[in-house]
């Protein structure tokens, strides 16, 4: 693979590869390292002839990323990051079956945006504190007058509601097509 081809491959897939590794459970700094490694492995192996199309390349890169992530978890037994091949495969199934859905995931993100608009003010504030302001759980507990576990449950409930809304919206859109 020449330099231009490698740069094009990285440019095309870096967002998904990085996000995917972070989604598997790697902290952001680790995800960045592993994403780099993923492309270097791809560079050394060169693309197999049967994965030349976009979705094939994505699946191939995700496979490399999963292997690297599992190797990282093996090396970091003392860390909080835990993963085994089964859990990683389950994660891949959700990524492929719910997020990508034979596409590039943009319809999922669009559905998420629409569902966010429909949240109550209370839930929007909780998400704003957690994600926009990067408040920790303990800090949110102070601000929302809740316990740390209560905040954890609240965020999980909100995400579950968003998941349900997204599924509903995507199925509706499929029905209209």
């Amino acid at each position: 693979m020449d330099r231009d081809s490698l740069e094009a491959l990285v440019r095309t897939h870096q967002v998904e590869v990085f996000t995917y590794i972070h989604y598997l459970g790697a902290p952001r700094d680790v995800a960045e390292d592993l994403a780099q490694e993923t492309f270097l492995v791809a560079f050394r192996k060169s693309l197999p002839p049967d994965v030349l199309d976009g979705s094939g390349q994505r699946a191939w890169l995700r496979g490399i990323a999963r292997n690297l992530f599992l190797q990282y978890c093996d090396r970091q037994r003392a860390s909080r990051v835990r993963a085994d091949s089964e859990s990683v495969e389950r994660a891949e199934a959700v990524w492929q079956g719910q997020f990508l859905r034979d596409g590039d995931g943009l319809d999922y993100i669009e559905a998420l945006r629409k569902c966010l608009e429909k949240l109550s003010e209370e839930h929007q504030r909780a998400l704003d504190l957690r994600y926009a302001q990067s408040k920790s759980r303990m800090e949110m507990a102070f601000l929302l007058n809740m316990t740390g576990d209560g905040v954890k449950s609240l965020l999980r409930r909100i995400r579950a509601g968003l998941g349900s809304c997204i599924r509903k919206r995507l199925q509706l859109e499929v029905a209209h097509e």
């Binding site: 270097l40 560079f43 959700v94 102070f142 601000l143 998941g163």
Partner: protein
């Protein structure tokens, strides 16, 4: 909902709401795949240059200790820094970089290579170079000490007597009246004490400079340590005005509209023998050190 779906939405929310954009890896990957010739020679030359600069700094600049600065402007020690709608960057000794959150108030303290701040409201994100000196944040009744780390100290709005500490890198020691705790990277701790005594606004011998803030509080009436106090103000021409601060309503304010820069020296203590900081009554002296021409 499965854990995997929950994690998926969590990661997407980080991007959508948190603005966390994935890093650009093109250059990094290409550089590793195609290392440049002469790279090691370049590294050696760079290392030599860095070493030379370090030696020059050690030999030539020793003794030139950086003055405190907020957003690039020089400050005196003891200055009160108040942020309103936007954040500010405070640099102490050139090695403590403090991001002051909006709606925060703090006072610079400490000495050379032992920098410190008193956080009175809001929060700060701190990054300290341990090779130069130590750094401490006093917040409420807690003192957070660091010798090289990145950490956050915040006084949550909903808990006036609480102190929140979060460590992003390195280690800090949090000393509270009833506990002492070492926090490492990734750890956080909130200290609360319902019966914690209020932290005095002023300490004996402390020197505080308050610069042109509209309505900057010199003495906060909510602070029991300044209630029922007598405060003597000395103007530039030597005339003195005595202020009595009664109960919880008394507030002395340096107004920007007065066109004055006010320096407070000494201690504001209760004069009723009950609400003193040090166990004895001490008059405070407020000296007007600068007055704009009328």
């Amino acid at each position: 909902m499965s854990d995997e779906e929950d994690r998926l939405i969590h990661v997407l929310l980080e991007r959508e709401l948190g603005g966390l954009t994935p890093p650009d890896l093109v250059g990094k990957v290409a550089a590793r795949a195609y290392p440049r010739k002469g790279r090691y020679l370049w590294w050696a030359a760079s290392a030599a240059a860095v070493l030379a600069v370090a030696i020059a700094l050690m030999l030539g600049l020793r003794g030139r200790y950086p003055v405190p600065r907020v957003d690039g402007r020089e400050l005196g020690r003891g200055t009160v820094v108040t942020t309103q709608g936007s954040a500010a960057t405070l640099t102490l000794g050139g090695y403590c970089h403090v991001q002051v959150e909006p709606a925060s108030r703090l006072r610079t303290e400490g000495t050379e290579r032992a920098e410190a701040i008193l956080l009175e409201a809001g929060g700060v994100d701190c990054e300290v170079d341990r090779r130069v000196g130590s750094f401490a944040v006093r917040a409420g009744a807690c003192t957070v000490s660091a010798t090289g780390t990145r950490f956050t100290v915040r006084i949550p709005e909903a808990a006036a007597k609480g102190v929140f500490v979060s460590v992003q890198a390195g280690t800090v020691l949090v000393a509270a009246p009833d506990a002492e705790k070492t926090l490492r990277a990734g750890q956080e701790w909130t200290w609360t004490a319902a019966s914690a005594p209020p932290e005095p606004a002023f300490r004996p011998g402390e020197r505080v400079t308050i610069t042109g803030m509209a309505g900057a509080l010199v003495a906060d009436a909510k602070d029991p340590s300044v209630a029922n106090a007598t405060v003597t103000v000395t103007a530039a021409d030597g005339t003195q005005v005595v202020y009595d601060v009664y109960g919880w309503a008394g507030v002395i304010v340096a107004r920007q509209g007065d066109g004055k820069r006010v320096e407070v020296t000494g201690v504001v203590g209760g004069n009723d023998g009950k609400r003193t900081i040090t166990g004895k009554s001490v008059d405070a002296k407020i000296i007007i050190v600068e007055e704009k021409p009328k």
